[in-house]
Symmetry: C2
Subunit: 326 residues, 2 copies
């Protein structure tokens, strides 16, 4: 190092001071600190990484950067990373298992120290496989090994909460807009819907359960379909907020008032859901906390520590799109 020469010591001494690896006499330390300041020296992270085998970078896999769902989670990640010295590389799987695998390989090739997988489409086995290379934390899974950790929210309970709220308001014909096929979270929410109906002795009617894909447009299509096939219903439960937004718009176009004519409830509580017209009743997912906690856990896993964490539960947020049936 140049600093070493300038301070008249050996490179190792500089290293020792920078890392606090060993005791160094005060005069030498002072000389080195001066030299460092004078040439405002900073260690080269690549050389450090090469030597230590740690890149101080973690990889985040989202499905769609520019979806409020993921971005709120990323916000939590960002917060948890602050001051740790770790940076994050974000990649997107675009809801596609093959692409997701390729992206994870990319992250691994880049030698990230760990991976956070958000709403992955790949199998648990794949995750376990990858976790042999680097620790992985994933949402929506119930795994727990030395190097892989899954967080799972009780989506079934969430779906149940939403529908029970509607039933308590007197609704009995409750339509449901599902998530994409084979999406675990979505399936569980639907299961919660079914259980709530059953507990209230309401027959399950597949004709008012319409498939969506978590996007706004599918919410619109769902409502249109319901009307085209002339279904009767007084409330709509959507598998996520985005499709609830679409449903809302379709209803508006048809001149149907929310909540006067039809009640609507979403799932997620995206930041924008407090500002829809009217503000959306929904099931709150602690997205920000999930991001924070997942990140913390990963950092622990990286250090070989065992983590045991719990995340806040899902909760019903009653706003203005639901009302008692008259």
């Amino acid at each position: 190092m140049d600093v070493a020469r300038l301070a008249g010591v050996s490179p190792s001494t500089v290293s020792r001071i920078l890392n606090g690896t060993a005791k160094v006499s005060d005069d030498k330390r002072q000389a080195v600190m001066d030299a460092i300041a004078r040439m405002n020296f900073a260690p080269n992270p690549m050389a450090q990484s090469l030597k230590r085998g740690r890149s101080m970078t973690i990889g985040i896999v989202v499905q769609d950067i520019s979806s409020p769902f993921f971005d709120e989670t990323l916000h939590g990640v960002d917060e948890a990373l602050k001051g740790t010295g770790y940076a994050s590389v974000i990649v997107s799987g675009h809801w596609n298992a093959a692409e997701e695998i390729e992206r994870i390989r990319l992250l691994l090739a880049r030698k990230v120290d760990g991976i956070i997988l958000l709403s992955g489409r790949i199998t648990d086995e794949s995750v376990l496989q990858f976790s042999q290379h680097r620790p992985i934390v994933s949402t929506g899974r119930a795994i727990q090994t030395q190097r892989a950790l899954g967080f799972k929210l009780d989506n079934e309970h969430g779906g149940w909460l939403a529908v029970r709220h509607l039933i308590e308001l007197g609704h009995r014909r409750i339509a449901f807009i599902t998530g994409p096929a084979n999406n675990c979270d979505a399936d569980e929410r639907l299961a919660g819907y079914k259980r709530a109906l059953q507990e209230a002795d309401i027959a399950y009617d597949p004709k008012i359960v319409v498939e969506g894909d978590f996007h706004e447009s599918s919410g619109m299509r769902a409502i249109n379909h319901l009307f085209d096939t002339q279904q009767q219903f007084t409330a709509v439960c959507a598998a996520n907020d985005l499709s609830a937004y679409g449903a809302r718009l379709s209803l508006y176009r048809k001149g149907i008032r929310v909540p006067e004519d039809i009640s609507l409830v979403g799932f997620d509580d995206l930041p924008g859901s407090s500002y829809t017209t009217p503000p959306l009743t929904t099931i709150r997912q602690p997205l920000y906390d999930i991001g924070r906690i997942a990140t913390n856990s990963l950092l622990h896993l990286i250090n070989g520590e065992i983590v045991e964490t719990s995340i806040p539960p899902l909760e019903l947020i009653v706003r203005e799109t639901t009302r008692r049936i008259r």
Copy 2:
């Protein structure tokens, strides 16, 4: 390298094959390729970076991850980076110049090959300063050097477009919700507002120009303030979509219909603006394209190439929150 031994050649030969640096006989090449495949070898990026002085990483500075505004731009960045071998590290300045500088320093310390600065709060001089270390591309600036490039949208024109649309619909009392103080983009939009009024011989009335901060809550507060001070107006122009959302909600709460009673126009055309109730008339910013083009330009700058680019203009998107005054 292990591969070299397995293939019975020297490490240099492997390197030559991987980088196409020099001619290598076909038989050796074959042997090496086999060995590589067999132990699915991949070069260590850190070692490469250390040697080449290129990290194959660029830094992105946003102000708020989890704002649809930035996320749509990031989407474009992501697209442009695809297949280039570059990855991105995203940091957030939180609309705070000091934090922004600290983050940029962090990126520089990490040896990113270039930086994209989105809606930065720091001065042009700071940018130029930083650009001495690494090439920088920034939005909202009119700079152009060998190592720094600014993109600037014609916000004044955008503001003018929005207000002229309102005026053409017969509105003459048009309230304006501004952006945060000292924000260049916001100031220009206000300037466009003033020019449109002037051209239509409408007196500028500061009492119906209310300060906001680009967030939903400030849009609500602005409308509330307007009503509290009993201003007369038939239309509202917001400096961005988010504050238009807030304005919309406040109007809804007061039982005022949009667009029947009051017309509303935003600025940005966020993805969600097609799904508000009713869908928002707004000025479209080509966020995605900005992300794409900024990234491409940066990649060129990194390679020492001169870039000359133009981005799509702002355009008025007429949806359903504006209507002719009766």
